[in-house]
């Protein structure tokens, strides 16, 4: 299966979804006016990947900013993964945030509260 690589723009994050090691990374800013268009290929890729996933799938979220439209699209993506968790692959989400960024920590905690996938909060000096 092909990897999904999308370069960052001023309003959308860098995407690195690597099929061969099950590492799925979003990095940068996700603030498009309408997040549906941007997230569509991510959903499509996940559908394909889960036909034959790695034993472990690790999602790394390293976002500096994201808007509420993206927060909903991201949840939909996580929900899709949640439905498949434990079937053929074990999924974990690593939520990175800058140490002083309480809002980003809280945003990660929102997903922790909603999802039945383990979400680990990881503080770093700089994303």
């Amino acid at each position: 299966m092909q990897d999904l690589i999308i370069e960052a723009t001023i309003k959308t994050p860098e995407v690195r979804f690597i099929a061969s090691n099950g590492l799925l990374t979003l990095r940068g800013r996700s603030i498009p006016e309408n997040s549906i268009d941007f997230f569509k290929p991510l959903h499509d890729w996940i559908d394909g990947y889960f036909l034959n996933p790695q034993e472990k799938t690790c999602v790394e979220i390293k976002l500096e900013y994201f808007n509420t439209s993206s927060s909903k699209s991201m949840l939909d993506l996580f929900k899709k993964m949640e439905a498949l968790n434990g079937v053929q692959t074990k999924i974990e989400i690593n939520w990175f945030y800058e140490e002083d960024d309480e809002d980003m920590l809280e945003a990660g905690e929102d997903y922790q509260a909603i999802l039945n996938i383990p979400v680990s909060m990881i503080a770093v000096d700089e994303l």
Binding site: I31, P32, D37, T68, S69, S71, K72, S73, D100, I114
Partner: protein, 187 residues
């Protein structure tokens, strides 16, 4: 505006702490420009990265709210569609806070749906806002426009302050709504 008036305008913007003001149509490109200008100015003027991030976050939601929800100027019959959806935006700073101010035309129906929502959010504490956000995030469907009814909650939650608003009625069917969000400067 004559040259003299322009100087007065400059002094007034300066005295009022206006970082940016804009009147016109809101497009995704315009939003990118405003965000870039404000981010650059904040990088110079604001030392606290948390405050910078909060202003940026609230500004994103505020501008995208305008972009998705602005109604037409009732006096706009002869204007082109872009002009008829003009808004006003200002980002202002005082010694202890930043203010994001927006003004836009809004129909009576939209206004009577919006104001009770703002009033309800303004009465909520941090925990209630967090719970409401999580409920709405997990239950609401995303619209075709990419909205999920989370913007206002997010703005109140991140700013930590109430949304203030003023309504000027233009005619029985349309008003001009001004909204102000305060983001306190952290030490």
């Amino acid at each position: 505006m004559s040259n003299n008036q322009l100087y007065d305008f400059f002094r007034k913007l300066d005295q009022d702490g206006v970082m940016l003001s804009y009147k016109g149509f809101v497009s995704p490109e315009l939003i990118s420009c405003i965000l870039k200008i404000v981010e650059d100015k904040l990088n110079h003027s604001e030392e606290n990265p948390r405050t910078r991030k909060k202003v940026y976050n609230v500004l994103v939601e505020s501008l995208q709210n305008l972009y998705h929800h602005v109604d037409e100027d009732p006096n706009a019959k002869d204007m082109n569609p872009e002009e008829s959806r003009s808004v006003v935006v200002a980002i202002v700073q005082s010694h202890d806070a930043y203010y994001i101010q927006t003004g836009n035309f809004i129909t009576r129906d939209h206004l009577s749906a919006l104001l009770p929502r703002i009033d309800t959010l303004n009465l909520m504490d941090d925990l209630q806002l967090k719970t409401l956000y999580q409920e709405r995030l997990s239950s609401a469907a995303i619209s075709e426009k990419g909205t999920a009814g989370l913007g206002l909650i997010d703005m109140v939650r991140k700013s930590g302050n109430k949304l203030e608003y003023w309504v000027s009625e233009i005619n029985p069917d349309c008003s001009f709504l001004c909204v102000q969000i305060k983001i306190s400067k952290e030490k």
